[in-house]
Symmetry: none
Subunit: 158 residues, 2 copies
DNA sequence: TATTAATAGTCAAAAATAGTCAAACAACTA
DNA sequence: TAGTTGTTTGACTATTTTTGACTATTAATA
């Protein structure tokens, strides 16, 4: 089942760079429970595989899958994410950002923004907690630098 | 429905810098209850998104939506910093970042980095505390965008 | 000035979505 | 066969939108 739904979505994505579905409709179409769709998405449309997923609940809700282009810096970023681990202090975090800047993976402005976010004074004051929060933030930022969304179309809403 | 009404109003605002409507008329036009219009306005035309709303009740009442105009980048950043105040929730913070991106004050990558840092899941879980931390971080980031450092000289400290 | 009509605003309940998580099940593997 | 891994299911949760009863404000009229 998972494979069938995956194939269906990929077929659409082969022609368009994004799909938007209504979870319940797809579930009905394939005669499965709605949460099966989440399973398919969580296992087959991950960022590692080059997909970005957005969704909205409530009336007019949807799930949107976007094919993204994975960048060359991916390996570098992945290994940095590994190195960071689940906790990092401000000094080390700054070094990571500096290195990214030196390696021209991020611009100066981007580096400044990231450094601001690494600043101790912004956090709670509990060292252990802060180091975890910081690691979370830094790793998520790096993860977001790994890919690039397709070009925006002219008649973009949002 | 909300999206449709939003699109309608934005279309008008694309040509004029303000719209004035009669709530009941628009509700009738789109066949929805009048309070739906308030919902659209409250969720889609906030100050964080760059709109001002004025209204009057009673005979000849109206709702007026005005697109705020700012002169330049510095102005925009300053007014956003003002709007943020000392506390901001995730939704509003996202609106601010989005607006800066739309107005080409920040790049898409910068926007992504900033959005990551606004994410609720990153914080402590205490709403009031989180909103303060988020405001601090966002305002500091914006403040850092206001100026550009001079070119690095050889004997650069920092 | 007091009353009524004509507006718009608020708020909370209901409806319409999607997400999470763990238990049951299935398919493989040592 | 026992253990491991991947899949399916459904009960429960979270979020967003829609709706309508009630309130507030302003203008028109008596």
């Amino acid at each position: 089942m998972t494979d069938i739904i995956e194939a269906y979505l990929k077929k659409v994505l082969h022609q368009q760079e994004q799909v938007e579905i209504r979870r319940s409709e797809i579930a009905q179409l394939f005669d499965c429970v709605p949460s099966q769709i989440n399973y398919v998405i969580n296992t087959r449309f991950t960022i590692q595989k080059g997909y970005l997923v957005e969704s909205k609940r409530g009336g007019g809700g949807y799930i949107r899958i976007i094919k993204v282009q994975v960048l060359d810096e991916m390996d570098m970023l992945n290994s940095m994410i590994d190195i960071i681990g689940d906790s990092i202090n401000e000094t080390d975090a700054r070094s990571v950002v500096h290195k990214l800047y030196e390696d021209e993976i991020i611009s100066k402005r981007e580096a400044k923004l990231m450094l601001v976010a690494m600043d101790k004074s912004l956090y709670t004051g509990e060292r252990l907690i802060d180091n975890r929060l910081r690691s979370n933030l830094l790793r998520t930022m790096l993860a977001n630098l790994k890919y690039e969304e397709p070009n925006k179309r002219k008649a973009d809403n949002s």
